[in-house]
């Protein structure tokens, strides 16, 4: 068969597989506005009620009304709490932001209701999870080598055991690994802290101790973009983290010369207990198949009935900053941290 004939057949084949786009009227998706509520209730802190009015895409030129404190009611254990509005001179909040300043003990039943004209009324509920102040953390250096692709930048892996007192079964617990440089390469003290993607489930490592690398293989359950490892609580939980020691990094620059950089770090852990709604909302994921209608609609989760968004609660406990010389000669960190 000649090359020209092959080409002809191939073009016909490709032609048969062309697609076509046809517009549809967005007004078929409805004409009602929708209330969005996003609220993370944190114990012992200011709780911001981020409330917006969304317009339907078929009426995108519409100007929505604003939600005022008179439109919203929040109750805790059946009692109404005061909803405040941030003033222009509030240093921490944008003017007009709705917020609540209350202490929410573990087990508090919280409810928010709101309604405005032109949108369905909303209602959302959550429960303040257990506070995790009484944790215990034990750490031990392992002999697992975590390689990387840049020269000899080897990190220690530390096996940690988090012991939580009397956590209810099914409670979602999260942990963040936070680092802060002590000094930079010029010896300047830095204070910026960052959350690192360096926490792993012990099963993520293969039997020979190698890290199961690559994003397709990572079993790290992310909580949105916060890089928090989340699991269903047990009394004791083991995890691994990549300990950034005072290490020396070497690599070759474009001129082929060796560059050396050393760094030292503080690190700490934040330990969270998450309400079910918080966990469900932030563990939503989406991909291209969902946008093709070919995957489960997990991204539509909301606990805001009549609207969208999330009304959830978290309790947070933090370890103090720890130095990299925490580990003794036997590789264990013998302190109990609270």
């Amino acid at each position: 068969m000649s090359f020209r004939a092959c080409r002809g057949i191939s073009y016909i084949f490709l032609l048969l597989l062309t697609s076509c786009e046809l517009p549809f009227d967005l007004k078929t998706l409805g004409d009602r506005d929708m209330l969005k509520l996003y609220c993370e209730v944190v114990s012992g802190d200011t709780t911001v009620l981020d409330m917006d009015v969304l317009v339907p895409v078929g009426y995108h030129e519409r100007t929505p009304v604003k939600v005022g404190p008179e439109d919203v009611v929040m109750t805790v254990d059946g009692k109404e709490v005061e909803i405040r509005v941030a003033a222009d001179d509030d240093p921490n909040l944008e003017p007009g932001t709705l917020y609540v300043r209350e202490n929410f003990p573990a087990g508090s039943q919280m409810c928010v209701k709101a309604s405005i004209e032109g949108a369905d009324p909303i209602e959302a509920k959550t429960v303040m999870p257990l506070h995790l102040d009484d944790y215990r953390l034990e750490m031990q250096l392992t002999d697992i080598v975590s390689g990387s692709y840049n020269g000899d930048n080897v990190r220690d892996m530390v096996r940690a055991r988090l012991i939580l007192p009397e956590v209810a079964e099914g409670t979602h617990v999260g942990i963040q690994y936070v680092v802060r440089h002590k000094t930079d390469s010029c010896g300047v003290t830095l204070f910026d802290e960052q959350v690192l993607q360096a926490v792993y489930d012990v099963t993520e490592f293969s039997s020979d101790g190698n890290l199961v690398a690559g994003v397709d293989f990572s079993n790290l359950t992310r909580l949105g973009a916060t890089l928090t490892y989340v699991w269903n609580a047990t009394d004791e939980y083991e995890f691994l983290f990549r300990h950034l020691t005072d290490s020396v990094s070497e690599w070759k620059d474009e001129n082929g010369e060796t560059v050396t950089w050393s760094s030292d770090y503080h690190f700490k852990f934040r330990i969270f207990a998450l309400s079910e709604e918080y966990y469900q909302y932030h563990s939503r994921t989406t991909n291209e198949f969902f946008e093709l209608g070919m995957a489960s609609p997990s991204y539509t989760y909301t606990n805001v009935h009549g609207g969208t968004g999330m009304f959830g609660a978290i309790s947070v406990a933090e370890t103090p900053w720890m130095d990299d010389d925490l580990f003794g000669s036997d590789g264990t960190a013998g302190k109990e941290e609270k």
């Binding site: 092959c6 080409r7 057949i9 191939s10 084949f13 048969l16 062309t18 697609s19 076509c20 786009e21 046809l22 517009p23 549809f24 967005l26 078929t28 998706l29 409805g30 929708m34 969005k36 917006d52 969304l54 317009v55 895409v57 995108h60 929505p64 020269g151 489930d201 993520e204 490592f205 293969s206 190698n210 890290l211 199961v212 690398a213 690559g214 994003v215 397709d216 293989f217 079993n219 359950t221 082929g256 994921t285 989406t286 991909n287 198949f289 969902f290 946008e291 093709l292 209608g293 070919m294 995957a295 489960s296 609609p297 997990s298 991204y299 539509t300 989760y301 909301t302 009935h305 969208t308």
Partner: protein, 842 residues
């Protein structure tokens, strides 16, 4: 015809009990019944055809002694025998009772008969013409016979107790819908009322609100996990080897279990014990070959079918052209897709009632694609290569022993093995070479090989009995023992060489399960009265995985109330459980999916279904069925952990597998008119289908296959002896999809209001097909088929989305304003698809 339809409609409205023409005539008249009408009855009840010379006198009265015998073998006995025929796979029972009927019928009539496969050839006693002198190709063609032939398969559904049962024979596919010039079992089933096909072209089977992974596909009684090639574009069943298909949408007998929504019981043909037959077909995308015949005449036979694609013949030159055009850019591409499947069956008859058969099926798909890039200059070379290879399919092997234990008891024993495999491998290599200032090439090279494999092996044995303790009871009972071995694993190997420093890593994640699943059942198909039949059954099944045991007791009840021989009212109630679950990150049947068992954290799925209907068998080969159903499903699952990876997580699948509920109800009405030359069916379905997954939404929401209205119309007609045509039109309300529905004017972010909040535009499609038949010089039959899928080229929406368009107003390089202007788009993918094929039967 019009008048007949009016009569039929009146009958339906008034619910008048009409007396049937044929059976009661035989009872009333007893004597004086013409041969021809008795032959019609035998044809209707047994599904056999008569071939005869027009010189035979078929209007004579059935033999004198024959009358007495026929009186004895009146409707009750014939119906009992018929019931055995229709509900049993014991073909020897057909033959024995058929021979008895024929012997009685033609006694002293001067007509000899001989049963040849599915034909009964009649000749004048003492005639020189022998049955083998009649040149017979297939039922639809009769070059040498003047008399019209009676084609098979009328009224068989009416005789079953169950609701929701459709019986198809292999010939139905040859006359019906062809996809890519290849008959397709699953796509034929998609045309039935109450069944939705899911995404266009893919062989999804969503029955009465099911999710597509809850259909029990059986190949000669052995379950198969996957029923399609190329994500379901082609079904895994080669229609050339199919004998019969029993498709249950409701009223599942107790002998079936393991899935929630439907049973597709495919039986393959035994090879002919006396002669060799075969066929060869070549189409635009695939080819088929089938051969059957005796190994030892009358004792041992074989039937072999092979099917394979040759899409490579198109893809290879396509990529050659593409690479030629991309050569200067340093890019190259590769790709191939092929599938094949093979069926083999060996049957040995120790005795007419003692048969051993070995069945084998294997199907495989292989898809590969690769991309490479190379950039070169005097001081720099960069190369990257990536190749992906996907391999998936099924294998089913069974050894069956059918034996008549006694006059009332028949046994069927089987050993089986069923395997489902899906694997994916991706190899990437990159190399960078730089010329340093000393003139030495320095190299950075790395390679990764990642793979994902999921294998399920089922090994087991089953024992089934058919017991006829009395004419009004047909008891089935049996036991099955299955060991399921689930073995998914994912691994990676990395190597790199950076300026002479090398490193390698390997990793493997695996999670194997072994589940032990015994089951027992008993069912009794009983005739409680002349007008009342029942099939009462009970099934018990348990599954033990990692020390956790799940049990299920499943009642199955079906009642049939025969208002008259033409009218039957049926009702059924069934409970079904499913212990194997498909973990799929998408709704398409991709080779990244894996099957896992119910565990301590994953409860078995369960469905409860009630159905009832009216079934009318009208004169002039028409039937009308109206059936309704209500179904609830608990512990159904969707994989909620999509994310960046298309692979379901092996270690965390239980946490990411979201549990929910489903409910579905509706009614369907279907009409059929079948004659020797013409086959017309029309159906309308009204249905509701909802889901509730608390992990996705806090209320019930419409399922993606919630098509409120569906209409299917098909017609096939033999225009001449050599030319027949098929046309099919189907229409339904569009599928549901989740799209962005609201906009925050301040942040410009878009949001979803609820799951499946948009119904796509209505779906409708016309398919036409033509068969041109010819007799070759050697007396074989050749068929040219021309099929057109989607004849008027409607680009039905495959999916839709909301484009987030923004118009910026810029003046003097300064942004003045930014306006959001979202746009909704339906995307249609499948245009008109004409195909053709050539088939030779020998």
């Amino acid at each position: 015809m019009k008048r007949t339809l009016q009569h039929a409609f009146t009958l339906l409205l008034a619910c008048v009990l009409a007396l049937p023409a044929y059976p009661q005539k035989a009872v009333e008249q007893g004597r004086g019944v013409a041969l021809r009408s008795q032959m019609e009855l035998i044809h209707q009840q047994y599904g056999v055809n008569f071939v005869y010379d027009s010189s035979l006198d078929l209007d004579q009265i059935a033999g004198h002694a024959g009358n007495d015998v026929l009186k004895e073998t009146d409707n009750d006995v014939i119906e009992k025998t018929v019931k055995d025929v229709l509900s049993s796979r014991h073909s020897r029972l057909d033959r024995e009772s058929l021979e008895a009927c024929l012997a009685a019928l033609f006694k002293d009539t001067g007509i000899d008969y001989e049963i040849m496969k599915k034909y009964i050839v009649l000749t004048k006693s003492g005639s020189k013409k022998k049955p083998k002198d009649y040149t017979i190709f297939i039922e639809e063609q009769h070059d040498t016979i003047d008399e019209s032939r009676i084609t098979a398969f009328v009224g068989r559904q009416k005789n079953a107790t169950q609701t929701g049962l459709t019986r198809l024979d292999g010939k139905k596919f040859q006359r019906g819908f062809y996809f890519m010039s290849s008959p397709d079992l699953v796509k034929t089933l998609q045309m039935l009322p109450g069944v939705s096909g899911g995404s266009e072209l893919f062989s999804g089977l969503h029955v009465y609100g099911g999710d597509g992974y809850d259909n029990l596909y059986l190949m000669d009684g052995i379950p198969m996990y996957q029923a399609g090639h190329l994500a379901g574009l082609f079904s895994a069943f080669n229609t050339d080897v199919i004998e019969t298909v029993d498709f249950y949408k409701s009223g599942f007998p107790a002998r079936y279990g393991g899935r929630l929504s439907s049973v597709v019981d495919v039986r393959t043909k035994e090879g002919d014990f006396n002669q060799y037959y075969g066929s060869f077909s070549i189409g635009l995308v695939d080819s088929r070959f089938q051969l059957e015949g005796p190994i030892v005449k009358g004792k041992t036979s074989f039937n072999f079918g092979l099917r394979g694609s040759w899409l490579d013949a198109v893809s290879i030159p396509t990529f050659m052209i593409l690479n030629h055009s991309k050569k200067q850019d340093g890019e190259h591409y590769s790709g191939h897709y092929r599938f094949w499947d093979a069926n083999a069956r060996l049957t040995h008859r120790f005795a007419p009632d003692n048969t051993l058969s070995l069945n084998f099926y294997m199907g495989r798909d292989n898809l590969g694609f690769g991309i490479g890039m190379e950039e070169k200059d005097a001081e720099d070379i960069n190369m990257e290569d990536g190749v992906a290879d996907l391999d998936w399919g099924n294998m089913v092997t069974s050894l069956n022993w059918d034996k008549k234990v006694s006059e009332e008891l028949y046994m069927d024993a089987s050993l089986f093995h069923s395997q489902n495999l899906s694997s994916y491998a991706l190899t990437t290599t990159s190399e960078e070479k730089d010329l340093n200032h000393e003139g030495i090439w320095e190299r950075v090279w790395q390679s990764s090989h990642e793979y994902n494999v999921s294998v399920v092996n089922d090994i087991g044995a089953k024992l089934d009995f058919d017991w006829y303790p009395s004419p009004s009871h047909h008891v089935r009972f049996g036991a099955k023992l299955t060991e399921h071995l689930y073995n998914p694993r994912r691994g990676a190997e990395f190597e790199y060489d950076h300026y002479g420093k090398t490193h390698s890593e390997t990793a493997l994640v695996r999670k194997a399960y072994k589940s032990f699943e015994p089951s027992v059942y008993v069912e009794d198909e009983m005739k409680l009265a002349r007008w009342l039949e029942a099939n009462l059954g009970l099934r018990y099944v348990s599954s033990t995985v990692q020390g956790k045991k799940w049990c299920s007791l499943e009642p199955r009840v079906a009642l049939s109330f025969r208002v008259s021989p033409m009218v039957a009212l049926k009702a059924s109630y069934t409970e079904m459980s499913q212990f194997s679950h498909c973990i799929a990150s998408t709704y398409i049947d991709l080779p990244f999916n894996m099957w896992m068992p119910s565990t301590a954290g994953i409860r078995p799925s369960r469905a409860r279904q009630a159905a009832a209907g009216v079934y009318l068998n009208l004169p002039h080969d028409m039937h009308v069925n109206v059936e309704g159903w209500y179904k609830t499903m608990d512990n159904i699952y969707e994989y909620g952990g999509t994310g960046a990876s298309i692979f379901p997580s092996i270690m965390e699948w239980e946490e990411l597998f979201r549990s929910g509920k489903g409910k579905s109800w509706g009614a369907s009405a279907d009409f059929a008119y079948r004659t020797e030359k013409t086959d017309i069916t029309a159906s309308y379905t009204l249905s509701w289908n909802f889901r509730r997954f608390d992990a996705f939404w806090h209320e019930w929401y419409p399922d993606r296959n919630d098509h409120r209205h569906r209409i299917n119309i098909t017609a096939s007609h033999r225009i001449t002896k050599r030319f027949d045509a098929y046309v099919g039109w189907n229409w339904r309300k569009g599928s549901r999809i989740t799209v962005l529905s609201h906009l925050d004017p301040e942040t410009k972010e878009y949001y979803y209001s609820s799951p499946n909040n948009l119904q796509l535009d209505d779906y409708h499609r016309l398919d036409v097909g033509f068969n041109f038949r010819k007799t070759t010089r050697r007396g074989n039959e050749s068929i040219w088929n021309l099929s057109v899928y989607n004849a008027y080229c409607r680009l039905n929406p495959f999916y839709a989305n909301v484009h987030r368009l923004r118009y910026d107003q810029v003046q003097n390089d300064q942004l003045i304003s930014s306006v959001d202007h979202p746009e909704g788009m339906n995307i249609g993918l499948i245009p008109i698809v004409p195909t053709f094929s050539y088939t030779l039967k020998f």
